[in-house]
């Protein structure tokens, strides 16, 4: 039989794992092992469990970044363990010690295993399935899809429910009405599908929540499948103009965007004070102004912006009639 080779250069690394169980509480465990340049972090964990410490608990399944099981924090970064090579971490951080911790935000059950129930509940809120027409369902009508639509939708359909984006999202922590990035990606994948029949209902579910995102781009940064949940939120916002019964959040959001648009159209600059006033109205603005004055930042709000000289060029780019 062909003997597989272990002639690859070996490097010793120290793996520090943050542990937790009900009996012992939180503690750290350290393991030493030799890895080569191809060793995935899932393989590191498997070897620790089978060769050194069988008590360590984690999730892992496909080890090729399509199942989303092994989401965790490695050297503080939200990552899939399978998509992380041990020696890449050593190189990036200049240290042979690698720390492994459970994802943030979710409740830790044991070691690296967190409770995903809240995550799944958010995903199911957006009705994550296609609702085709009865005719198509019965097979009486054919639904063709243009290759370019397939390509656009497929990008957002590649969410693997790993939870990394939600674990790193600051908005879900402070705003219980924000559905979170993964649910928005999933929701938009169906909202934008020309074969779906419940557009209004979907827009109602997603519309208010879409305006609660803070555009920090963490979901964009951590997504192991490059789904860009934040992009789906932007695209959903662009559609709330079709929404009936807009909530205050949506109205304010749309006003804000309109104000920014007008400010740039008129001056070529973002006149923050004016945008603020237009978005939130005089009453809120005065309350906030008092707060701003107390913090000594009033002078920033009162800067008078002059029009930029190439304003006509900007207006042309914005599609305004000349």
């Amino acid at each position: 039989m062909v003997q597989e080779q272990s002639n690859l250069e070996q490097t010793e690394v120290v793996i520090k794992v943050k542990r937790y169980n009900q009996e012992k509480g939180e503690y750290w465990s350290e393991y030493k092992l030799s890895v080569d340049r191809f060793t995935q972090m899932t393989e590191v964990l498997r070897r620790v469990k089978t060769e050194q410490d069988p008590t360590i608990a984690y999730r892992a399944s496909c080890h090729m970044a399509v199942c989303g099981s092994c989401a965790m924090k490695i050297n503080g970064e939200p990552r899939l363990a399978c998509k992380t090579l041990a020696l890449d971490m050593v190189k990036k951080y200049g240290s042979n010690q690698i720390t492994v911790e459970p994802m943030d935000f979710f409740k830790v059950e044991k070691d690296l295993i967190v409770d995903m129930d809240d995550f799944y509940a958010r995903m199911f809120t957006v009705k994550p399935r296609l609702y085709p027409s009865e005719e198509v369902l019965k097979g009486n009508a054919e639904s063709r899809l243009r290759p370019e639509d397939q390509k656009e939708l497929w990008k957002f359909a590649q969410c693997i429910w790993c939870g990394l984006c939600v674990s790193s999202c600051p908005a879900v922590r402070i705003d219980s009405k924000f559905l979170g990035p993964a649910a928005h990606a999933k929701g938009y994948r169906f909202l934008a599908d020309p074969r779906d029949t419940i557009y209004d209902e979907r827009l109602k579910i997603l519309g208010d929540s879409a305006w609660r995102c803070t555009y920090c781009y963490q979901c964009f940064n951590v997504c192991p499948r490059d789904v860009e949940p934040v992009t789906t939120i932007k695209k959903t916002r662009a559609q709330t103009r079709f929404l009936k019964d807009k909530t205050e959040v949506v109205k304010t959001g749309e006003k804000h965007v309109r104000a920014i648009y007008e400010s740039i159209r008129d001056t070529g600059k973002l006149e923050e004070a004016k945008v603020y006033l237009t978005t939130y109205g005089l009453a809120t603005a005065i309350t906030d102004m008092l707060y701003t004055m107390r913090n000594g930042k009033m002078s920033f709000a009162l800067i008078k912006e002059k029009k930029v000289s190439e304003i006509a060029q900007i207006q042309k780019l914005m599609g305004e009639k000349e």
Binding site: E4, R37, P54, S61, H63, M64, C67, P128, G139, P147
Partner: protein, 566 residues
């Protein structure tokens, strides 16, 4: 122990299990899906290249379902039950159309219809695909669909054993992994859709969760496995991490090359070349490596460079990404390093064309857990996704029929039976000290790879079998060091090892007994196919420490065995 009452229980949340559950629930019956992972994490998600289908009006004009059946029968080296293969071909178009309607984002032709590509062993191109993440796309679609029905999901529940009422399956004993609380799921019917067993081998493209649980549960309950000796090795697993580089890579024109740059498949399959079936390509690669034409580290190259960057990145995104991330190779510029690894299990729980097991009333199986058999001695690429859906649906429909015509078990001893099975599971790891699961598991995987692998012979198989038998006794010394009452994964890993050992002994014995070469079962001491003595299915039972081997005829309809040349 808690008791839950269902009409049917489906074990496994992959494509086959979900499709069965869909049919059972749609008929108005109460069904529970028990899975040791969240369903989208099932191994179906890892399937890459595509799903074969003859779609009326959208296939090669020369193609028809008969060619598809013929390809499947020939590919399976005539161990295929031809009625099953005919059913598979005939239902293929309908299944793809259903998935399309439910929202699967298949790649399109410019006119908006579903696109198709070539796969190994196909006379005409008929593989439908979503880039090279077809399995993931189908699994998500089906899970999303079924999660909208009234199906109860028990995710991260570990099924320990089938609960019997005499020769009848009356339920399942399972344990919630989070709380470690056992429950008895009473049901008239149980569908095993537990997937494959790649973790038995040191090198596998399978997920970590594929430990052969369903096969072992069936064996312990007294049901037979069919053709357990047939283990498929995929020729192109990425070196050295064994991540699958889809056959789509060769379907799209990828070329296997040795260290001299030669297209060596010309020697082994002069007509089909790189698109020869998996068993032939796997053995060819090993021969090249053995004869010194591999690269240092023992691999060959899979050359895509001539396909062009944009084509590779769109149609073979995962292959490109895996080569880049896990081997540091840019597939648009240099060949991908590949070698064979375990990939698929043709053997499985013995069921007929309806998904029914003949040993135990109320037991059904579908997908990789089952042997129908449509793959015979060697499965063609893109037939497994098709099988999960076609036979998942057939089995679900059979279960519906069964539920209509059968009454519940009236046995009053089921709880006692379940308690006994729980006791057995605990006693299996009852030692206070000694070895833990990992030591034996790693050894088992190496023995299976070395002795019951791509090339087999009597000496290897005899020594393999005796090693496996020894280890199987050894595991009784096993103990669980972790005493935690939440997600005690060490306990479940130990139970998985029990399943792996039960299966390993059956595979090794069956491989030793079959003295011929057929499909993926290749014996260097019996290099020829022997239709006179061996055109028959192996039927294997596990009775205590004894593997009992019997036979069943192969169903032939229209295709008589002929030499298998490509």
């Amino acid at each position: 122990m808690d008791k839950l009452l269902y009409d049917a229980v489906v074990l496994g949340g992959g494509l086959a299990g979900l499709m069965s559950a869909h049919e059972i629930a749609s008929a108005g019956y109460r069904v529970a899906v028990i899975s040791k992972v969240f369903p989208t994490r099932s191994h179906s998600s890892s399937a890459e290249g595509g799903i074969a289908a003859y779609v009326k009006g959208n296939s090669d004009p020369n193609d028809n379902p008969d060619y598809m059946t013929y390809d499947t029968v020939k590919g399976g080296d005539y161990l295929v039950d031809q009625d099953a293969a005919e059913l598979l071909s005939q239902k293929s178009g309908e299944i793809v159309e259903i998935m399309e309607r439910w929202g699967t984002l298949f790649n399109r032709q410019p006119d908006g219809r579903v696109a198709l590509r070539y796969f190994g062993g196909q006379t005409y191109p008929r593989t439908r695909f979503v880039g090279d993440k077809t399995g993931m796309a189908l699994l998500h679609t089906l899970f999303e669909r079924v999660s909208g029905l009234s199906v109860d999901f028990f995710n991260e529940w570990f099924a320990l054993d089938l609960v019997l009422d005499e020769k009848r399956v009356a339920g399942v004993l399972a344990m919630e992994m989070k709380s470690m609380e056992p429950s008895l799921f009473k049901a008239k019917a149980v569908v095993l859709a537990t997937g494959g067993m790649g973790m038995l081998y040191a090198h596998t493209t399978n997920a970590y969760i594929n430990t052969g649980d369903g096969y072992a549960m069936a064996l312990r309950a007294g049901a037979a496995l069919k053709d357990p000796e047939f283990v498929q090795f995929h020729p192109t697993a990425l070196y050295p991490s064994d991540i699958l580089i889809s056959e789509a890579a060769r379907g799209e024109g990828g070329i296997l090359r040795n260290n001299k740059g030669e297209r060596f498949m010309a020697r082994y399959a002069p007509k089909k070349l790189d698109l020869a079936p998996r068993d032939i390509a796997s053995r060819s690669i090993i021969i090249e490596i053995r004869e010194g034409r591999g690269f240092p580290g023992n691999y060959v190259g899979l050359d895509l460079t001539h396909l062009g960057e944009s084509y590779i990145k769109e149609r073979l995104a995962l292959a490109y990404e895996a080569a880049m991330n896990f081997a540091g190779v840019d597939a648009t510029k240099e060949p991908i390093p590949v070698r064979p690894a375990q990939h698929y299990y043709m053997g499985g729980v013995d069921v007929d064309i309806t998904g029914t097991n003949g040993d135990l009333q109320g037991l059904f199986a579908a997908g990789e857990a089952a042997c129908v058999s449509v793959h015979g001695a060697n499965r063609l690429g893109s037939n497994s996704l098709l099988e999960t859906l076609v036979f998942g649906r057939e089995t679900g429909r059979t279960v519906v029929e069964y539920l209509r015509t059968h009454n519940e078990s009236t046995s009053t001893t089921l709880e006692g039976e379940a308690e006994k099975l729980l006791e057995q599971a605990y006693s299996f790891v009852k030692s206070e000290s000694g070895i833990h699961f990992g030591e034996i598991q790693n050894k088992l995987r190496q023995v299976m790879w070395d002795d019951v692998g791509i090339f087999r012979n009597e000496d290897l198989l005899k020594s393999g079998l005796s090693e496996v038998e020894k280890m199987r006794t050894q595991v009784k010394e096993m103990y669980v060091t972790d005493k935690s009452k939440v997600y005690n994964t060490e306990f479940f890993n130990a139970l998985e090892l029990r399943n792996m050992m039960d299966l390993a002994v059956v595979i090794s014995k069956a491989a030793l007994v079959r003295t011929e070469s057929r499909g993926a079962h290749f014996r260097t001491d019996y290099p020829e196919r022997d239709d006179k003595n061996w055109l028959k299915h192996t039927i294997a039972y596990l009775k205590g420490n004894q593997v009992e081997i019997g036979y069943k005829p192969v169903t032939l309809t229209r295709w008589q065995p002929e030499a298998r040349v490509y």
